[in-house]
Amino acid sequence: MDLILVNLIDGLVTGLLLFMLSAGLTLIFSMMGVLNFAHASFYMLGAYFAYQVSLFLGFWMGLLVAPVIVGILGAGVERYGLRRVHQYGHVPELIFTFGLALLIEEVVQFIWGKDQMPYAVPEILQFTAFSIAGNSIPAYKIFMIFISVAIFITLLYVLTRTRVGMIIQAALSYPRTVEALGHNVPLVFMGVFGVGTALAGVAGVIAGPVLATFPGMAVVLGSIVFVTIVIGGLGSLWGALVASLLIGWITTFAKSYNVRMEDILTGLGVQKPVDMSESLIRDLWTITSPQIADILPYLLMVLILVFRPYGLFGKRDA
């Protein structure tokens, strides 16, 4: 029971982190119809910028400054890159963001090198918040949860309760009408792109110290973020939330409970072959759940796409 609680918290942290990335990605997608392949690269940039700032001004200034820089960079990419490629269609846009992801990784290696950066949790948060049956929960995890929840609530408030949010929502569905009413829709697009990438930057800042700040961090998380929004349904914010938490919990539980395929198969009444060295399915018998934890999201995605191609919360013809 206690272990379940610990895993719930761990999964929540992972899920909320994923959500910070997928929220921006799904917003950008529903607005411009383009999946930003470089989204996770902005997350990486957030971590690196925050590290660089924290060397001079400390962790908290990094948390404030880095997302702003990332957001400005993101807005610049939209203004001078994507808008130019937009005329060629959606596929070149996707290829553009893919190239951007490659380039950002190279630039990061150019500036900071290939090694991991010594970006650490600030001292003020280096204590144990509480412990559950001997499993200590670090304060930083609680801090991560608070930051993500706060950002989610702010985002929800801005999108549904403020004038800016109304214009954004209207621009999502009827860009031409909104433009005719006198709003600068390209500016709105640029703003949403900037805010979306800034959110990814925040995620990078708070994830950098725990998940390691290194040039591969975008690749590690990148594809999972896409999987998340595909499972949740492209363009659905709620779907992104549900899918992020789902993936967070599934991977955490699969990693901490050592479920073996052998037990499942024997439980189902399948006889274990005596000599397995030559059997082609010998790997099936030795699979354990921690081993496949990282590919469970992909499996889930393939299953979802086969049985419900528009995702959990997506509209039928998104």
């Binding site: 383009v34 999946l35 890159g81 553009f96 595909v230 492209l234 992909y298 086969v306 191609p309």
Partner: protein
């Protein structure tokens, strides 16, 4: 091409067959020109990349489907081939080495049949995402399913244990080269012919306007599915050639990096023309082998080149080449030579200056402590001194300014070269 009559044009015309004959003769003559073993290795790699890129372009260029996981079909085909190779060795089966790629192709096609059955329902973003997910899934499986993928170290075989074919045992690189060239020409020809069949033409129609294609009575989904399966077959052939050439396949052949680089190759070469991916594969392999020997940050240059291509030349290298078809046909290509030289030479100076500045900065940041000597463009200097960096920046500025100044002249010459005499533009 331009015949308007109702009679069917002849299936094989001289002008249609000529490029193929020349290309084949050229490929056969290549080892006589470049005799060294390393050149053969590069040419083999090029040939494999060409087959793979052409197969990829069946999706991207001809079918409008962007795949982020196409390495899977090549990799699966390759893995299968290594297994077949080992079976031939263990059980002395009468399968000669040259037919091995067929197994790779069939296996790649089988995987494409399964994946395509659900991934081709939608084109565009959804297809791209599914391909990414499936690619990641299979790449991750390769570490778990040891029986087929061999885990971390991959599976390896030995090509020389098969049956000798007409006395050839495939011990030498040159024999492998001719084997690869045979399959290259055959599969390129088949892929070209595929693009001329009704189904290949329908793939173009579905790419451009799926609704209209459906309205004509064609199922866009099935058209996409057929292209996908065919592409999987040829990717599998490329995998088989890879297996024969390198005799080992690992997780690296399946992962996102490989899938991404084939996208790079194809797009760089140009997706709009059949020969685009061929140019892309040749240029990319050369860049990869030559640049990576010269500089550590070649991937940075590659990234910049790729992004610049997407933004400014979406037609790729083939597109840029074909832009000149009209001036040449009008006999006005000569008008372009001088403006080109006056713009491109300064532009080259600018680019070289930029590369120099990047190299110096990289050296300052990442060289071992105390090591401040570097060699660039055959000049050895102290990287921490300000002079080389200033020189590089001056080169960038001067080059940019000169190129900028003569750009309007080039634009005017371009316009003139594209206007027929006496006709309005």
């Amino acid at each position: 091409m331009t015949t308007q009559s109702l009679t069917r044009p002849p299936l094989v015309t001289l002008s249609g067959a000529l490029p193929w004959v020349i290309a084949t003769l050229f490929l056969l003559a290549m080892p006589q020109i470049f005799t060294s073993n390393s050149a053969l290795t590069i040419m083999n790699q090029m040939a494999i990349t060409i087959v793979f890129a052409l197969a990829y372009n069946m999706l991207l260029g001809q079918g409008g489907m962007l795949s982020f996981g196409h390495a899977v079909y090549m990799g699966m085909g390759g893995f299968m081939c290594v297994h077949v190779m080992n079976y031939v060795e263990d059980y002395s089966l009468p399968i000669p080495l040259p037919v091995l790629p067929v197994f790779g192709g069939l296996f790649g096609m089988g995987v494409a049949l399964i994946v395509g059955s659900f991934s081709t329902r939608k084109a565009g973003t959804v297809f791209a995402m599914i391909s990414l997910g499936v690619g990641e899934l299979i790449a991750a499986c390769s570490v778990i399913v040891v029986a087929f993928f061999g885990g971390e170290e991959g599976v390896s075989g030995d090509r020389t244990y098969g049956l000798p074919v007409f006395g050839t045992e495939f011990l030498h690189q040159i024999e492998i080269y001719y084997l690869t060239v045979f399959w290259l020409v055959l599969s390129a020809l088949l892929m070209y012919l595929f693009s001329r069949t009704p189904i290949g033409r329908m793939a173009n129609a579905v790419r451009d306007n799926p609704e209209r294609a459906e309205f004509l009575g064609y199922s866009a989904r099935w058209v996409r599915f057929y292209s996908f399966v065919a592409s999987g077959f040829f990717a599998g052939i490329a995998g088989g050639l890879f297996a024969i050439n390198y005799e080992i396949l690992t997780e690296e052949n399946l992962n996102l990096a490989t899938s991404g680089s084939i996208l790079l190759v194809t797009f760089l070469g140009g997706v709009g023309f059949f020969f685009g991916p061929i140019i892309g594969a040749i240029v990319f392999t050369l860049l990869q082998t030559v640049l990576s020997l010269q500089t550590e940050i070649w991937q940075l240059y590659l990234g910049i080149l790729f992004l610049a291509t997407v933004m400014y030349f979406p037609g790729g290298l083939a597109g840029v080449l074909m832009m000149h078809a009209l001036p040449i046909r009008l006999g006005k290509a000569g008008l372009l030579v001088v403006p080109y030289l006056r713009t491109l030479l300064p532009a080259a100076l600018c680019i070289l200056g930029l590369a120099g500045a990047l190299e110096i900065l990289f050296h300052i940041r990442h060289a071992a402590l105390g090591d401040s000597e570097m060699t660039l463009f055959w000049v050895t200097f102290d990287s921490h001194a300000p002079l080389p960096l200033i020189a590089a920046i001056v080169a960038v500025a001067v080059g940019f300014w000169l190129a900028r100044r003569s750009a309007p002249e080039l634009a005017e010459a371009w316009h003139k070269a594209n206007t027929p005499d006496g006709g309005a533009a």
